[in-house]
Structures are given as structure tokens and as C-alpha cells.
């Protein structure tokens, strides 16, 4: 009876998700099997054509491109974010609040504006090039814009706070006496870090990885602005197909392909976090 009552509290959110996420999602699934006419109107005629096009070798390379971008973004944010989270959790409460506040601060500004900020920094006539030239270190501007790496830097920057916060929560819960025990038993700092700290904070690492990987698949405006549109990611392709490409059914099929990529990462997350100690991953 009591669990029944407690479960009742979940009904509003279930309804919310069911109506506003579930139904549109089903519509997207249905759309991916429909046809369209030359004006781009949906025609209610079943077809597998859209799915055949999704597995076209050229379009599969777009999937690979997005996957690579998302994986590298997650990796970079982890490498940069883990130390930040670790150090932050060891600070005094006041400094810790300040540090977390500063990490969150960029969210107060539109992500589009922050992307333009990167353009001002990295451009040929940008701040970095101007400073280097004024110092006489370089003669002509270093071309830093419109490359895969530029998009990667922008996307990683955009999503870094997600990683930091996820890892921070995990590091914060870490029982410090275990570290002391490790030292007492003669383990070095590195050994302790790799055998105690990392396994115990693994849920945070995998959580942050998931939180970064999934949005990185879809942040196509960053690659449009910083990458100069020099390559194609899933987000760009879906956007084009849904608008000027007049092909919403194909856009729907690609969107579901993107959902599948995201689900793969989520499955990985579940597998890892169920195993709280993370031993399964290190064997």
C-alpha cells in the first residue's frame, strides 16, 4: 500500500515524459518509414528507402565523424575536468563554493555568444594572433580556425562543466580513510590513485562521459561556426535535410540513428554503474 502511494507520486512525471517525449519519439519513428512528395510534404506511404539511405557508405562516414567527435570531446573533458574536480573537492568549503561558482559562470551567457568569443580569440585577426604578432613571435597569422580541432576545442569547452560536476560529486563522496589505509599499507600516491581513487570515482567518470558524449553528438552550431562547415556531422546533416533538403522522413531516420548512438553509451553507463566498484571494467 505504501509503495503504491509512493509510486503515485511518479505519475505526473511519467505522464509528462510519456506525452512530451514518448509520443513525439513515436512520431519520429513513424515518419522515418514514410515517403514525401517533391514539395517536401509527407506522403502516407510505407517505405524502407530512408533506412537504406542511412546505411549508405558516405552517410555512414558522417556517423563515424560524429562518433569520433563525441568520443574525443568526452576524453578531453575527462582529462581536463578530472583534476579540476579533484582539486575542487579538496578545497575549504568557501573556496570550493567559489570554484564551483566559477565553473558554472559561463552558463550565464548564451552558448552561441561564447562560441563567437572563441572566434574572436582564434581568428586570423583574433586576439591570440595579434598578441603573438605584436610580440614578434610570428610573422603571419597562424591559421587556427575552421579545422576539426577547432570544433573539438569549442565542443569540449562547451561541455566541460558537465564532466567536472559529475566527477566532483563522485570524488566528494570518496571515503578519504580508504586513501589513508592505502598509504599505511605502503602504496605509493600513483598506486593509490589508480587502484583506489579511480575505481571508486568510476561512476562519476562514466556519468560525466555520458553527459558529455550525448550532447556532443548534437552541438552542430559549434562545428558550423568554429569548424567553418568544413566537415559534416549528424547534426548538420539532419538540420539540412529537415529544412532546405525537404526530406523530413530521411531526417527522422538519421535522428533515430543518432538516438541509437546515444543509447549505446547509455547502455555502457548502466553496465558500469550497476557494478559499483568498477572491478568489471578493470579486469
Amino acid at each position: 500500500m505504501r509503495t503504491w502511494k509512493r509510486n503515485l507520486l511518479a505519475v505526473p512525471i511519467l505522464l509528462w515524459i510519456g506525452l512530451l517525449v514518448g509520443i513525439p519519439m513515436l512520431l519520429v519513428v513513424a515518419l522515418s518509414f514514410l515517403s514525401r512528395d517533391h514539395l517536401g510534404n509527407i506522403v502516407y506511404q510505407f517505405t524502407l528507402d530512408n533506412w537504406r539511405k542511412v546505411v549508405d557508405p558516405i552517410y555512414l562516414r558522417v556517423f563515424w565523424n560524429s562518433l569520433l567527435m563525441a568520443l574525443l570531446t568526452a576524453l578531453i573533458t575527462l582529462l581536463v575536468g578530472y583534476p579540476v574536480a579533484y582539486i575542487t573537492s579538496n578545497l575549504s568549503p568557501r573556496r570550493r563554493a567559489l570554484s564551483l561558482g566559477l565553473i558554472m559562470l559561463p552558463f550565464w551567457i548564451s552558448s552561441l555568444l561564447r562560441t563567437y568569443g572563441w572566434m574572436i580569440l582564434l581568428g586570423n585577426a583574433g586576439v591570440i594572433n595579434n598578441v603573438l604578432m605584436a610580440l614578434g613571435l610570428i610573422e603571419r597569422p597562424l591559421p587556427m580556425m575552421y579545422k576539426f580541432g577547432t570544433s573539438l576545442v569549442g565542443t569540449a569547452y562547451m561541455l566541460l562543466p558537465f564532466m567536472i560536476v559529475a566527477v566532483f560529486n563522485s570524488v566528494d563522496k570518496l571515503d578519504r580513510s580508504l586513501l589513508e589505509a592505502s598509504y599505511d599499507l605502503g602504496a605509493s600516491r600513483w598506486k593509490t590513485f589508480f587502484h583506489i581513487t579511480i575505481p571508486l570515482t568510476l561512476p562519476g567518470i562514466v556519468g560525466g562521459f555520458t553527459l558529455v558524449f550525448i550532447p556532443a553528438l548534437g552541438l552542430y552550431f559549434v562545428s558550423d561556426l568554429l569548424g567553418g562547415g568544413n566537415t559534416v556531422f549528424l547534426g548538420n546533416l539532419i538540420h539540412t535535410l529537415a529544412t532546405r533538403g525537404r526530406n523530413r522522413p530521411l531526417a527522422a531516420a538519421f535522428s533515430l540513428g543518432m538516438v541509437a548512438l546515444a543509447l549505446m553509451v547509455l547502455a555502457f553507463y548502466w553496465k558500469v554503474t550497476k557494478d559499483k566498484t568498477g572491478e568489471g571494467l578493470f579486469q
Binding site: 517536401g40 552517410y59 529544412t243 532546405r244 533538403g245 526530406n247
Partner: protein, 348 residues
């Protein structure tokens, strides 16, 4: 009794009058943002007529289409690009315009009427004309050792490596390639398309950036020396740096006409007609052209245009340039294949 009915009568009249004013008091426009319909002009219209204007900003023709098709009774007027006029017309979303309510319609240059999207000039009133062209920094092109740029074919010169910026749209880029090969836009002949595909791939090393919204910036900051862009962007680039000069490629250029259209279920058609007639007044049309930097299709506006505008070939298109333009007609037949080629091109 008599007094009561008099009071009742007055109330009824007042209610009717108020509701009539209410319905005449508001129109809703939907189009691009960024002062595409200048605020000052809208304010003047509001002051003159007492009709309030709501301005719904969108970022794509397709957004306009979805919004209009979802709620056709919420929008009175749209300004949308030629191909979307064609789609909306064929989908039965548009009202046939009653020209008797538009005395200023006579001001429109017949050169811009009766186009493919509205063959009998029933549904659309042209508002802003633009073309795509090349904006070139001739000095820098020379410094790179490339020969002067007069045609699309000149973009393939190896000296221009990483020095070209283009708008980011498959149909447009394939258009350049097809034109440089001497073919028409939106060619469907597989052999010619295959030829264009090869030539397109050869252009990749020269392109530094694909940018649809502000390609002129790349020329201003020097990262590119040639840009293929829309005329209003080229005008801005030229204004920021006079060394950036327009080149009208001899192979011909694409033209776009953004047009006013009325929703078939427009809630305030009278107000919409008043607005359309207002913006077609010669002096108003001239001021709009001055603010938006688009070519005006309003012939009667010419005497009111500022000198800089009249002397600028990108704004006041010379006849021989205008004659060398064409629309992208039949885009639907090539879209899918061009997009596929374009993705392959970008992944190289």
C-alpha cells in the same frame, strides 16, 4: 422602458464598434529577423493607421512553412523566398491578392513579376531582390600570383588554396560548378552531374570556410580573398573595406526574390492590404531599400533612392547583369543527389 432600450442600444453599438476596432487593430507578419522589415517603417505605419503590427521572426523558409501550416489563421502576411512561395502556393496556403485594394501595386517593376513561383502574379508581391556573386580582394589575389577573377572557373586556380569562402548550400555550390562547365543550374543529366562531381571535388583545397550568414567577414579579416555570397552581404563587405569589389561572373548568377504573400486564412485581411499598400509607396520602398541593402523591385522608388545606392551595381543591378541571372528552378529533382555529393565533397 424607452431609456433602457436606448442604453441597451448604445451598449450594443459600442461593443460592435470596439470589436470592429479590435479586429482592424492588429496584423501579424512573419519573416526573417534583423530589421528585414525595418522597425521605423513599421512604427510609422502603426502611427498612421492605428493598426498594431506583430513581427514573428524566423530563421528559415521551412520554419515559416511549418508555422503557417500549423496555424494558418494566426498570420496575415509573410515574406518568404521565391521557392517557398511556389511550395505554399501549390499547397493552397495563399490568398489570391485583390489588386483593387493595392493602388501602389502599379509601382512594382514588371521585370520582377510573373516568375515561376507565381506565373500569373496572383499571390506574391516582390519585396527584396538579391543575387549571388563574387566579392574579390583584387590586390590580394594578385599578391598570391593568381590571375584576375572574372568567372567561376577562376576559383579553381591552385594559387587560391585556402583562400575562398562560400555560402554553405549544396544546390548553390553545385550551381557554380555546373555554370563553370557551361551547363545550367540543377542539371539532372547523370553524365553532366558526374562531371560536375569530379570538378567539385577539385575545388575543396581552395575553400577555407563554408558560411551562409556572414561570409563577408572572412574577406574583411583577410582569411579569404574571394567569396561567393549574396549581394546584401557583398554590399556590407564592400562598405567595410572598399578594396573588396564585386565581380559578376560572366557565366551568370542565381537570383532570389523574397516576396510578400498573404495567408488564405489571414485574420485581418483589410489590415494586411493596408500594410502592403503602405510599404509599396515609392518613398517608403526607397527607405526600406536604403536600410535593408536589398535591391528594390519598386520602380517608382528610384528617384527617392540615395546616391550611393543608385551608383552601386550590387544594389541597383545594371540591366545586363539582371539579364544574366536565373532562378534555381526544379531544385526538388536534384536535391537528394546533390546533397549526397555535397556530403562526400565535405568529407574529403
Amino acid at each position: 422602458m424607452k431609456r433602457t432600450s436606448a442604453v441597451l442600444f448604445t451598449v450594443v453599438v459600442l461593443v460592435l464598434a470596439v470589436s470592429a476596432v479590435m479586429s482592424a487593430a492588429e496584423i501579424t507578419l512573419m519573416t526573417w529577423g534583423g530589421d528585414f522589415i525595418p522597425r521605423v517603417i513599421i512604427e510609422e505605419f502603426e502611427q498612421e493607421t492605428g493598426i498594431r503590427v506583430n513581427y514573428k521572426e524566423v530563421t528559415s523558409n521551412e520554419d515559416m512553412q511549418s508555422l503557417l501550416e500549423a496555424n494558418p489563421d494566426q498570420y496575415d502576411l509573410l515574406v518568404t523566398t521565391d521557392y517557398m512561395v511556389d511550395i505554399l502556393r501549390q499547397n493552397g496556403m495563399l490568398e489570391v491578392l485583390d489588386k483593387s485594394k493595392l493602388p501602389n501595386y502599379a509601382n512594382i517593376n514588371p521585370l520582377y513579376l510573373g516568375k515561376y513561383y507565381d506565373p500569373d502574379s496572383e499571390y506574391a508581391i516582390p519585396y527584396a531582390v538579391s543575387i549571388s556573386l563574387l566579392l574579390v580582394n583584387h590586390e590580394e589575389v594578385e599578391k598570391l600570383g593568381a590571375k584576375p577573377i572574372t568567372t567561376y572557373s577562376d576559383l579553381w586556380q591552385p594559387e587560391l588554396r585556402n583562400k575562398v569562402v562560400v555560402v554553405d548550400w549544396s544546390v548553390e555550390i553545385m550551381g557554380i560548378v555546373l555554370k563553370s562547365l557551361g551547363y545550367d543550374y540543377n542539371e539532372t543529366d547523370p553524365e553532366k552531374v558526374a562531371q560536375a562531381r569530379e570538378k567539385l571535388f577539385a575545388l575543396k583545397p581552395n575553400i577555407v570556410r563554408f558560411e551562409t550568414n556572414t561570409p563577408e567577414d572572412s574577406l574583411i579579416n583577410g582569411e579569404a580573398v574571394v567569396g561567393f555570397m549574396y549581394s546584401n552581404q557583398a554590399v556590407k563587405g564592400n562598405a567595410a573595406d572598399p578594396r573588396l569589389q564585386p565581380v559578376f561572373p560572366t557565366e551568370g548568377m542565381p537570383i532570389f526574390i523574397d516576396c510578400w504573400v498573404m495567408s488564405k486564412e489571414a485574420p485581418n485581411k483589410d489590415g494586411a492590404y493596408q500594410f502592403l499598400d503602405f510599404i509599396m509607396r515609392p518613398e517608403i520602398a526607397a527607405r526600406i531599400a536604403d536600410i535593408t541593402k536589398f535591391t528594390t523591385p519598386n520602380k517608382a522608388a528610384e528617384p527617392y533612392l540615395p546616391d550611393y545606392y543608385r551608383n552601386n551595381p550590387m544594389l541597383n543591378l545594371p540591366d545586363e547583369v539582371a539579364a544574366n541571372t536565373s532562378f534555381y528552378i526544379g531544385v526538388d529533382k536534384v536535391l537528394e543527389e546533390y546533397e549526397h555529393i555535397y556530403v562526400e565533397f565535405k568529407l574529403r
